[in-house]
């Protein structure tokens, strides 16, 4: 087996030599396999992350509330100096109205560990009370390094795990250069880098855990997958965006096994066990657990914030949701809308769980949550983008287009953080990586279509023709380019101070909705195709 592989490699090298090696400037790296390319790409990705870290963070030098950076630092201060019981409780030592901890316990533990790191090198930066609004050269550096180390320890290994699993899944399909391109697409996703290393957050941890969970699920390690996913969920409650897909896929697989009830019980026990361990300090009394839970669901903050490109915010141009309805009823509306929109993809996975379908289901359920759930941030677009990058080889056109709009939707936020230079550089980096010499990005705009859509092409045809119509794409691309320039150079009219944000939001929203339809139909077409294939197999 191994010999055969080597033979192949040698043959490939020879071919390359004979072809004049002109096609691919990277063949010397990729011919060695995945690991060397992963090593190089991840080192480069790390370099880019460090360089982005040189730029300002959110709320730099803006008292009294500062921004996410101060929130994370404050959590380190709280977790380091107070016992776990007091972390989520308002008290004389913990003023919850000032960046109170509102993420699940795993974030709190992570803050504690990072707090220990900070206090060894710069005790002032996490001293109780006195460190509020603490900003210094060393403090910023140490904080940046905590994000970097989280990336290296969690996100990068998870991506490697996923890529290896994914490659074995599509055995014989992808070339090495495609795999390298895929790694670059995941690791150099500009939105994630900008939010984590520019704006300042720890999305790499929850997203990394999610990727690991996906990889485990794809390699049939369902118990590990459910544990990892629970950890992700316990790091950021936003990971619930993926819950329907995980639920559907894992349940669907259980139902097809010999003893479904036993399998489901195992999974349930695993989930409960993981939760119990993570929540242990708060399980001593009902009040403590409820106190944490109430912190995690900040319903008082309204159905949307700022100008996020989701349904509620966009439709509020026409319907003033906040004035017409109480928060209570809006909660029910949003819950219902989210569930209804993600139901189809979940049902599909329960009925016909498949690896590719699972990835599409992740995409669809996270888009439903982004568009319809309660209290969505601009940054939440990272969650739908994650499965999309995992699907980069299938959806190479969509990833270009959607990353563009994801970036665009975050532009006002990043502009506020003074990250415009990093934004432009990373956008250009993404485009360059996408069109890397001999990567699939350069090729995909040709005539080649996906093999499995040919049969059932007609049903997707309509949506595809709208989403990828060259005229529509050109027009929207031009619009967003002009809007970038206008946003940077002009002041909005006094009467409508948020005019530009609203226009950006409208454009992005329209694309997100269109793609939600597109991906949903893709997922169903996939299942039809698969079932017909199964039937054929049975007949044979």
């Amino acid at each position: 087996m191994k010999e055969k592989g080597e033979m192949k490699k040698v043959k490939k090298v020879k071919d390359k030599v004979n072809d004049g090696q002109d096609d691919d400037p990277w063949w010397w790296l990729i011919q060695e396999g995945i690991r060397p390319s992963f090593l190089c790409i991840s080192l480069f990705a790390l370099l880019v992350r460090v360089a982005v870290g040189l730029h300002p963070y959110s709320g730099a030098g803006t008292p009294p509330k500062f921004g996410d950076y101060e929130a994370q630092r404050h959590w380190m201060e709280i977790t380091l100096n107070l016992p776990p019981k007091d972390w989520y409780r308002n008290s004389s030592v913990n003023d919850l109205s000032y960046w109170g901890l509102d993420y699940p316990p795993l974030t709190a533990y992570q803050s504690y560990v990072h707090g220990v790191f900070l206090t060894t090198f710069d005790p002032d930066s996490v001293a109780l009370f006195t460190s509020r609004g603490y900003e210094s050269y060393l403090g910023k550096l140490l904080m940046r390094w905590t994000v970097l180390s989280s990336d290296v320890l969690i996100f990068f290994p998870a991506v490697l795990y996923f890529v290896l699993v994914y490659r074995s899944m599509r055995f014989g399909m992808g070339q090495n250069s495609d795999v390298a391109w895929h790694i670059a697409m995941i690791l150099l996703n500009p939105c994630l880098i900008l939010i984590d290393h520019g704006h300042f957050q720890y999305n790499c941890i929850s997203l990394g855990l999610t990727i690991a969970a996906i990889a485990a699920a794809l390699s049939q390690k369902d118990l590990v997958a459910s544990m990892l996913y629970c950890l992700a969920l316990n790091h950021k409650q936003m990971s619930a965006y993926f819950a329907p897909a995980f639920f559907g896929y894992l349940l669907g697989k259980c139902l097809r096994k010999k003893n479904p009830l036993l399998e489901v019980t195992k999974l349930v026990l695993m989930v409960m066990g993981t939760f119990a361990i993570v929540w242990w300090p708060y399980l001593q009394s009902k009040d403590a657990a409820l106190a944490v839970l109430s912190r995690l669901a900040p319903f008082e903050r309204g159905i949307y914030e700022d100008y996020v490109a989701n349904f509620w915010c966009t439709s509020s141009v026409l319907v003033k949701w906040k004035k017409l309805y109480s928060t209570q009823s809006l909660r029910i509306f949003s819950l219902a809308a989210t569930l209804i929109t993600c139901l189809p993809s979940m049902v599909q996975q329960i009925l016909a769980p498949s690896s590719k379908g699972f990835l599409y289901a992740l995409l669809n359920s996270s888009f439903s949550f982004y568009l319809f759930s309660f209290q969505v941030h601009e940054k939440s677009i990272l969650l739908p983008l994650l499965p999309l990058t995992l699907l980069a080889l299938e959806e190479s056109r969509s990833i270009l287009w959607l990353t563009h709009f994801a970036m665009f939707s975050m532009f006002p936020l990043l502009h506020r953080d003074k990250l415009v230079l990093a934004y432009m550089a990373l956008y250009a980096l993404f485009i360059l990586m996408y069109f890397a010499p001999c990567g699939p990005g350069g090729r995909c705009h040709g005539t080649k279509t996906l093999d499995n859509t040919q049969k059932t092409k007609r049903s997707v045809d309509f949506i595809t023709s709208i989403t990828f119509h060259p005229l529509v794409m050109g027009f929207l691309g031009l619009c967003s380019l002009i809007l970038h320039v206008i946003y940077l150079t002009m002041h909005p009219p006094n009467k409508y101070p948020f005019l530009f944000e609203a226009v950006i939001m409208l454009i992005c929203f329209s694309q997100f909705v269109l793609f939600t339809f597109y991906f949903n139909s893709k997922q169903w077409v996939l299942s039809k195709h698969l079932t017909s294939k199964d039937k054929q197999k049975k007949l044979i």
Partner: protein, 512 residues
Amino acid sequence: MMEMQESPRTPAVMAQLSWFFGIATIVKLLLIPSYHSTDLEVHRHWLAITHSLPLSQWYTDETSEWTLDYPPFFAYLERFLSMFAHLIDPQIVHLHHGLNYKANSAIYFQRMSVIVSDLFLLYGVYRSTLALASLKRNLIWLLVIWSPGLLIVDHLHFQYNGFLFGWLLLSLSFLAQGRDVMGGFLFAVLLCFKHLFAVAAPVYFVYLLRHYCRGGLVRGFARLSVMGAIVVAVFAAAYGPFVYHGQIQQVIRRMFPFGRGLCHAYWAPNFWVFYIMLDKGIAFLLRKFGFNIPAPVASFTGGLVGDASPFAILPRVTPLTTFIMVLLALSPCLFRTWKDPRPRLIFRLVAYAYTCGFLFGWHVHEKASLHFSIPLAIVAVESLEDAKHYFLLSIVSCYSLFPLLYEAQEYPIKVLLLLLHTILMWFSFSAQYSGSLRGDKKGGEKQGFEVGWVTKSYLIGVVVVEIWGQFLHPYLFGDKLPFVPLMLISMYCAIGILYSWIWQLKSILISS
């Protein structure tokens, strides 16, 4: 040998090269807010001088301590840039109000000017690699366009080396092609941008004399006159205006400030490091044996030395000594060139000249190691031995630049740059000399890219020196003896550069 083949795939090659260049540009853009040295203020002040003063006062102005000390073409370049700077923010080019001006507009403008001027490097590399096979071409791009040393010096520390190396590579590529007039002309221009490049002038002179001015006495003399006229014309264009204003002596005085001492504040890893250490060692031993050795009046850590000798025992080194040493070191290579001037060797010859200048020169900066590591990159792909040598040299030369960035914020950046460079070199050279490839060409001769145990242990030593300097030394000694880690780096890298010098000399002499 390296005949130009204008292949039909030229646009595709340019597109690929631009891709590599684009990636590098993005890293450069992201590095804009990083640490920059006082060189940024130096160049800003030169913008101000050239913009606000008439030409006759450029080299006499003493508003700031950062007086103009580059040759006239560079001053003209600053004048050209200052027109744009004035449009962006007039304060950048204000002679007095602009002093120590640290606004974003100034930093962004100057950083961008370096990034844009790197286009010359792009073209230089493009031209030098046009005739090569695509694998070799790609490797050279990796080594030059993504050179960590250039990134550190130009885009973190702040200088315009990429632009100057573009000129150098252009000139060399013309020479390698056999177009001597163009090569000589470009080198003359380069000299009027930065006179430090003049170390290679003897090599250029001998090479052009023997390669271009041949074919009988009459023809040779005619060609010599043509070349002479060109060089004189270039120098006239540069220095003419200053001669007209009666400033030429002042210009020369500014350009060659020999009052500066043998070594820079941070010792460049060259021969003189050993000389100083030997002096200190002997003095220490003699003191042990009871001799009364007075401590030298001047110290080396100060940078500016003045008249007093910094040596306790060994004879004092003067600029003339270093000049003779450089010429002596150069002489074997000059003889070789005299006997048999070959275009194929020109990259090596020039690189060797810069190595000599680096090792034995007066007041050498650590940045000058780029002068030979960049041209050598072009020939690093020629043979396995070259690859092995370059692998070591480029790591050492990049590592010796580490002390330039001493702040914590840039630490991960420089380490990652060097690491990425090392790994890319390793994989690319391994692929180039993997068994299967060679088997294709030379019939089963298997000889892979691997480094010997000496090189390996030397490179591990680099890691040890770095760990000592960064972690163990501050831990064990605290703030005491702060110069020891720097001295260690200088000495350790000097060993590598000395080895490289000998290796280069050997390779030039035995090449037939």
